[in-house]
Symmetry: C2
Subunit: 270 residues, 2 copies
């Protein structure tokens, strides 16, 4: 191998591509219609996660289990139809009139927002024990441009679920790309242990208070220099204390940290 060939190997300054993963994202279903077809345990789990994200959930199933019944009784579901799925259900809330977009005006934007919220299913989740019907629903929905997940049939999924840890604003998704759902759950529990005795929302508040404090401190220099200096310092501050330490810091200690700006940081305990 010549020198020039060797130089070609992995000389990139940029992160190396590692294919065959998924694109992990936090989907925004707040106030958006989501359709759940099925009324069993998997459907109930989907509904739980959807409600945690403030979705407007419509359930269609001849029978629903006790968990879904309880969500219904508490008024958490947008609609429950105790019957089998029908193809027209995919357009349950669709209106004939598509909003206009000619002038790119705020008024037109508002009407499109309303149309998105009132008329469209953002996601279609199917969890029924009928592979043939599941497949039919998938292709019907895809032809209409909808995002679909057919439980337990990876090739018929626009997106997969995984194990989810939740504490306050913090959410963590552990995905093994379908290779090991049990390991994902195991890791979720292990990651969860990291946050015992940690008040996540307080950590976030504290970090934001420090940022706010640094922002109010008037430094010399151009606007760009000041922003860059503050950002660099914020990176150092955030990493200077552990999550457990950030969770224990009180107002006086925030002041101590801010006073050190833009210099050396005080050690914990402050």
């Amino acid at each position: 191998m010549s020198n020039s060939e060797i130089n070609k190997l992995d000389t990139s300054r940029y992160p190396q591509i590692e294919p065959n993963g998924s694109l992990l994202v936090a989907w925004q279903v707040k106030n958006r219609h989501v359709l759940v077809v099925g009324g069993g345990e998997v459907a109930a789990s989907r509904i739980y996660h959807l409600l945690n994200a403030n979705a407007k959930v419509t359930v269609i199933a001849p029978e629903i289990n006790d968990e879904i019944k309880e969500r219904e009784e508490k008024g958490l579901l947008y609609a429950v139809h105790r019957r089998h799925f029908h193809p027209s259900d995919l357009k349950l809330y669709e209106t004939k009139k598509l909003p206009k977009l000619n002038n790119f005006s705020e008024d037109e934007y508002k009407k499109i927002d309303e149309w998105i919220i009132d008329s469209k299913f953002e996601l279609v989740l199917v969890a029924i024990d009928d592979p043939i019907k599941s497949k039919q629903i998938y292709y019907l929905a895809k032809l209409q441009g909808l995002n679909v997940n057919i439980a337990d049939v990876p090739p018929l999924c626009d997106f997969y679920f995984g194990a989810i840890f939740r504490k306050g604003f913090l959410q963590i998704l552990i995905s093994t790309n379908g290779k090991g759902p049990r390991m994902a759950k195991l890791l979720k529990d292990k990651i969860g242990q990291m946050f015992t005795d940690v008040e996540i929302n307080k950590v976030l508040e504290n970090i934001n208070s420090v940022r706010q404090g640094a922002r109010e401190y008037k430094l010399q220099g151009s606007e760009n220099d000041i922003i860059k200096k503050r950002m660099d310092w914020m990176i150092k501050v955030t990493e200077n204390y552990s999550i457990k330490e950030w969770s224990k810091i009180d107002e006086d200690q925030i002041d101590k940290i801010v006073e050190s700006y833009p210099g050396e940081l005080p050690k914990f305990p402050l």
Copy 2:
């Protein structure tokens, strides 16, 4: 407060809803067209994550940065157009002919699959320094039923990104629902430390080998009883060893674990 009122408080057997989160999912963009508008640092980061998930990436931007150029030179991008965005770009690959779905035949399904893969943008990601144009692209795309992310403008996002840890098949998304991106990065590094010296793919292989071994072991009883017994045992097995231990287990040790089925599990070191 009467007894019946007390009984109403939190008597649910089901997980309590904790609203204002997102729906965390692993989006499947493998072989799907994704449009990236923009050629700067944020666009480059989006492209990196998209390529990790085998998307067909089309980039539209008058200029692209060195990282994107390198991806282009390595032939990793589907298309790069060095120009400004035009509304018709949202339909860049769309064909006029919508596939038919009359008979729900495998042949029709295949044509729909091809149409999805060849014609449609699964996601539209915008990362340009022009809030007015960004907003126009968002509403144009939404009217066409597309999934959109406008970088740094949460109200114009169907989905958010977060900090992502990757090791083999394992992917972990840390989201603070927009409240603390720096904390998300900090947590990502901390979670990453858990996996130092851990070969994730070996952990998954080992767990799957044990499951396979248990499956081959003939137990007495009905098919349902056998499946239930094996599933219960698999839960115990998975949790019996730490991730680091699972990563160190070799073939002989796998046999030892399988031999213990369905009884008491051997302790580590095996």
